[in-house]
Symmetry: C2
């Protein structure tokens, strides 16, 4: 059991992690760190954290620190936190992109490298609403959590991060930061971008007449704009590669529709259905 766990940034993910960690008794004490007392107080009232502080100095007792802030803020935040973190502390995060982040953080933490270690992770769970009001203890259950060690990571700490996620119900996978970013470009970032495009391309005057298909397909377009700007720009190259794969399918089908090559359309519908059916609801 972790004696002191600190969560920096108590929104949907941080709050859900707090609820899950307390539910599964993974840590004896959960500290929330944030900028806004009102939000931290709300998280405490919801039972997501035992205690809170707006001061990074409160990190001194933490054995494990999980950074749940938007991905672009993490390196600077850790550089401010570093002086307060005790030797041997394990630091991880929940950011949606890993390659740039892991490089930047390893630079920030270099002065402390024998004393604490950062191992990136990404629980693949979320909802279109980002606030702690939507936090739930089972957010990570049965979801994939990707842990992204580098060649320099200690096996022991990689194992500790993996245990944290499996203890809240996630199925843990390991891959390099680069492999992770290529993966999520396809499984998450391009779907988000396409959903935004589809919503944005819908003329105002038909919005009152959309059906369940439109609602499902565009649901994630309701996500936080600034969060997604960061994700998409941090992962620009992999997103472009994955968009190109989508575009190839798009053009094939557009031409097939135009030329009435309906067997190609049927093959697309079949392949889409087969892949979708293979995954579950």
């Amino acid at each position: 059991m972790i004696s002191h766990l600190a969560i920096i940034g108590v929104g949907l993910i941080g709050g859900s992690l707090g609820l899950a960690v307390r539910k599964h008794k993974v840590a004896r004490h959960v500290l929330g760190i944030g900028r806004h007392t009102a939000n931290l107080q709300k998280a405490q009232n919801l039972g997501a954290i035992d205690d809170y502080s707006t001061d990074l100095a409160a990190l001194k007792d933490a054995q494990v620190v999980v950074v749940c802030t938007p991905v672009e803020t993490i390196p600077e935040l850790l550089s401010q936190a570093a002086p307060h973190i005790s030797p041997g502390t394990l630091i991880t995060d929940v950011g949606s992109t890993k390659e740039k982040l892991v490089k930047a953080v390893s630079k920030q933490l270099r002065p402390l490298k024998r004393q604490c270690e950062f191992i990136g992770s990404h629980p693949m769970a979320g909802r279109e609403k980002a606030s702690v009001d939507h936090a739930v203890a089972d957010l990570f259950e049965q979801r994939a959590a990707i842990v992204t060690p580098t060649e320099k990571s200690s096996e022991e700490n990689v194992e500790r991060v993996a245990e944290l996620w499996s203890s809240v119900g996630s199925k843990v996978h390991f891959m390099s930061p680069r492999e992770h970013d290529a993966l999520v470009a396809t499984t998450s970032h391009v779907p988000h971008l396409i959903a935004s495009m589809l919503a944005a391309a819908t003329p105002e005057e038909v919005l009152s007449l959309v059906g369940t298909g439109w609602l499902d397909t565009t649901r994630i377009a309701a996500g936080d704009v600034e969060l997604w700007r960061q994700i998409l720009t941090q992962n620009r190259q992999h997103v472009l590669t994955s968009l190109a794969r989508f575009e190839k399918v798009f053009q094939t089908i557009r031409v097939a529709l135009e030329k009435e090559h309906d067997s190609k359309l049927v093959r697309l519908l079949e392949e889409g259905k087969r892949k979708r059916d293979s995954v579950g609801s």
Copy 2:
């Protein structure tokens, strides 16, 4: 109250209509017509219909007939049904496209035109599973139902069809078959096609690692292939027009990402979020 309502084709939509009509006491007797006794028996057991037949001759008592079969089959089916339909019978359908259908049906029914009338309709409700096992009485509640009269339609029968849908909880809209098809290309058919493309473009090896965003965005790709082939090919021109609108947004954003014009990306995310938020969950 309708004394005898007949539903031809008792799957998800026909079955749900039967459940809703019986729940709201819209008809005294609901007859199911289909090809397969096992399915009709199941619908009866579920309480969706009072009685059933595999013989179109059973239509003779019906005041109102609702055809819930795939859209391509409707004209031929109505031509077979016509001799059995009594004078004054009102016929409607639930097909997802209207322009070609309404033209074809009016040809089939011309010999009977003083005796019965077809008014197209399209309840905008559905799920990715097509069988009667998934039928629910509240499928149409709070959903739009579009009624598509032509210049020749009698006002009285247009009103009767509208009443049928509002009595099962739908919000009724009126438009021409052509306006309907342009609308649903954007609100339903293109989202379906995009969902299929996105699912099909996802490499096999990452399917086990998709998140909630991918799951939502591709959900409708699990829909029935033959049903969607019919819809997309019946509505080819409007689908192509709507796809072109999507493609314009797609290309703008792809280029913006490439050139690091991130303000355009932000504007897209904002517009997508604004439109999605305006609609509800």
